[in-house]
């Protein structure tokens, strides 16, 4: 039986199926390692789940077999997870939801999130300003899931009414291979492209290779998102192909774990919403985002 003064915190995240979730997994485990050392009486249970049923199963197991006191969760598909998370809450646990809004309000004690529509809007804003006379844009999307839709909608709303012309959008599944493949075909199909919005740096890396292969790197630039180190280095170096990036750091999971831990250890009541802005990363502010250790 767990001693009375031991606190168990469950951390549930989606499996590392692409760069960004890979970052989430990495930062979560980093935070757990660090905080376990600092707070010996806090125990963490970590689970990484490939899909919603598995993620529900994992949090059920945390409640029924590990007797957690708090749950920090980044729901892979928030709509599907809502009622299961509500059950955890109803069982009297402290619940922190990260990144994705549940479909009913008031379930979570604490909400730590990035700004998905903002990511799209910021990219749109930058592209408009970089192409004041208008231009052609192609979009490489992620996978057909809600956050992709939110980012996409944010972007489309941002360019609406401007003279930015969106030529086409296709899914590139948040990975480099598909980014490369789709970009190659866009380059075949469209003789004039001024900007590429990929909403994700993994996709950007593939797209950039395709652009370089076609020798068209002087015609266009690529705006990604999420702040992957490799792209940040290029931004820092002033690569004209990647003038900026838009932050959407997977490290938000670490913030959530820290806040939740301090709720129990620091005696401070933590609650409410922490929205981490999606900021535009330029050569000027890139240094504050660079983290040599990060695998993402």
């Amino acid at each position: 039986l767990a001693q009375d003064d031991t606190i168990t915190i469950g951390v549930s995240v989606p499996a590392a199926t692409h760069g960004w979730t890979g970052g989430v997994n990495y930062f979560a485990q980093q935070a757990i390692e660090r905080l376990s050392a600092t707070y010996p009486n806090v125990e963490y249970v970590f689970a990484s789940s490939p899909d919603s049923p598995k993620q529900i199963a994992d949090i059920e197991d945390m409640v029924s077999t590990r007797d957690i006191d708090a749950l920090v969760i980044l729901p892979g598909d928030p709509d599907a997870m809502t009622s299961a998370i509500k059950q955890v809450k109803d069982a009297g646990k402290f619940v922190t939801v990260v990144d994705r809004q549940l479909s009913i309000d008031g379930v979570e004690n604490l909400y730590v999130a990035g700004d998905n529509p903002g990511l799209g809007a910021n990219a749109a804003e930058y592209i408009k300003s970089a192409l004041p006379d208008g231009g052609n844009v192609v979009i490489l999307r992620g996978m057909p899931i809600p956050i992709d839709q939110q980012r996409f909608d944010g972007f489309m709303a941002g360019v609406e009414g401007s003279n930015i012309m969106v030529l086409e959008n296709e899914f590139a599944n948040w990975n480099r291979d598909d980014g490369f493949r789709v970009m190659q075909d866009f380059l075949t199909r469209f003789p004039e492209i001024d900007a590429v919005w990929t909403q994700d740096d993994d996709i950007s890396l593939g797209a950039i290779e395709a652009i370089k292969q076609a020798g068209r790197e002087d015609e266009m630039f690529v705006v990604g998102g999420a702040g992957m180190q490799q792209i940040l280095q290029a931004v820092k170096a002033g690569d004209p192909l990647t003038p900026i990036d838009v932050s959407y750091s997977p490290a938000m999971i670490a913030t959530a774990i820290e806040l939740t831990t301090s709720h129990f250890t620091g005696g401070i009541q933590v609650a409410g919403r922490y929205i981490l802005d999606s900021t535009v990363i330029t050569q000027d502010n890139v240094d504050q985002f660079i983290d040599e250790e990060s695998p993402f």
Binding site: P50, A57, A80
Partner: protein, 334 residues
């Protein structure tokens, strides 16, 4: 010379052979349970056991359908995306009907009917292309897997289809409540399993499935309508996918393009772990149930410990799956 060696009349074949091939999956299951017990005292708790069984019920019900398909020498890769599209359509139907019928069981029953109908139709589609179209089952169901998956993405407009909250509240007990302390999903799973085992062992349909999977020509010469039996296996599979979805929707209340991804592999793995022959000709439903529970327990046990890096979960699963089948491997044929 009238030395006549006493011939053993081939009388009733002793129904049940207590050999490794039979005990194999049970042994693997027992070992996993032991492992679970040593890892965590709550492992055998009522809550944990019902949790594991209830959430295994979707795959379980689907895998029972797959047992028939595979026994008859077929394969259905589309079950996961079929589940997604059925869930999506059910949700849409229910949401549409609320203005007409109001929130209540009426809407839910209508949604269920739509789901079952769609499952049947999807099964008919797969089955007809395979039997009448004479296309390899692998290809047909790989194709429909893509088609169904696209369809749900399209219906959900790239996002998630969510069930209206009030309806979800009414529907939720179908997953979370139960009878005499046994959650409904487990009850349904048990019923389907018992029914499946009886159909497989004690009806001509089950016998015919095995005959077709064993040798299609022999089946044809033995007056079995090969195409019809095979078609029925796919319809049955479709209907059972729909039944699984009836239990899935109240749990998640939503469907998206990621619903049911890789369920097909899990279902097929459960079937084979259970001792059914992938090439057809021999199937056992109880084995599939054991296979499903084994797969469910693997995930559960991984959550009971913190030694294995979560990155290595897949490796652990892989090893257990191989070991479970290793325990029942045929002895060298010599």
């Amino acid at each position: 010379m009238s030395v006549s060696a006493p011939e053993v009349a081939p009388k009733a074949r002793s129904g049940f052979r207590w050999d490794l091939k039979t005990v194999g999956p049970l042994l693997a299951l027992a070992l996993l349970v032991l492992l679970g017990i040593t890892l965590n005292e709550n492992f055998l708790s009522y809550n944990n056991i019902t949790n594991v069984l209830a959430r295994s019920s979707f795959i379980g019900i689907i895998a029972i359908g797959a047992t028939f398909v595979i026994t008859a020498g077929g394969l259905d890769l589309s079950v996961g995306s079929m589940a997604a599209v059925i869930a999506g359509v059910m949700i849409m139907v229910m949401n549409w009907l609320i203005p007409v019928m109001g929130v209540g069981w009426g809407v839910i029953l209508a949604g269920m009917a739509a789901g079952i109908l769609l499952g049947g139709v999807a099964g008919v589609g797969n089955g007809l292309m395979i039997t009448r179209g004479r296309i390899e089952a692998f290809i047909v169901t790989l194709g429909t897997m893509g088609i169904f998956r696209s369809l749900v993405t399209f219906l959900a407009d790239g996002g998630t289809l969510s069930l209206n909250f009030q309806v979800a509240d009414v529907y939720r007990p179908v997953y979370y409540d139960g009878l005499l302390g046994i959650p409904y999903p487990i009850l349904v799973f048990a019923l389907v399993a018992i029914g499946g085992e009886i159909v497989m062992r004690r009806t001509s349909f089950g016998r015919h499935c095995a005959a077709i999977g064993s040798n299609e020509q022999v089946a044809r010469y033995s007056s079995i309508s090969v195409d019809n039996v095979r078609l029925i296996t796919y319809i049955l599979q479709g209907l059972l996918v729909a039944v699984a979805v009836l239990l899935y929707v109240p749990r998640l209340g939503s469907a998206s393009s990621t619903t049911g991804v890789l369920w097909e592999l899990e279902a097929i793995a459960a079937v084979i772990i259970g001792g059914t022959t992938l090439k057809g000709g021999y199937g056992r439903v109880w084995g599939t149930v054991v296979g499903v529970v084994i797969l469910g327990l693997i995930g559960n046990i991984l959550n009971l410990q913190s030694f294995i890096s979560p990155y290595l979960n897949g490796a652990f699963q892989g090893v257990i799956i191989i070991l479970a089948v290793l325990l029942q491997r045929p002895r060298r044929a010599s």
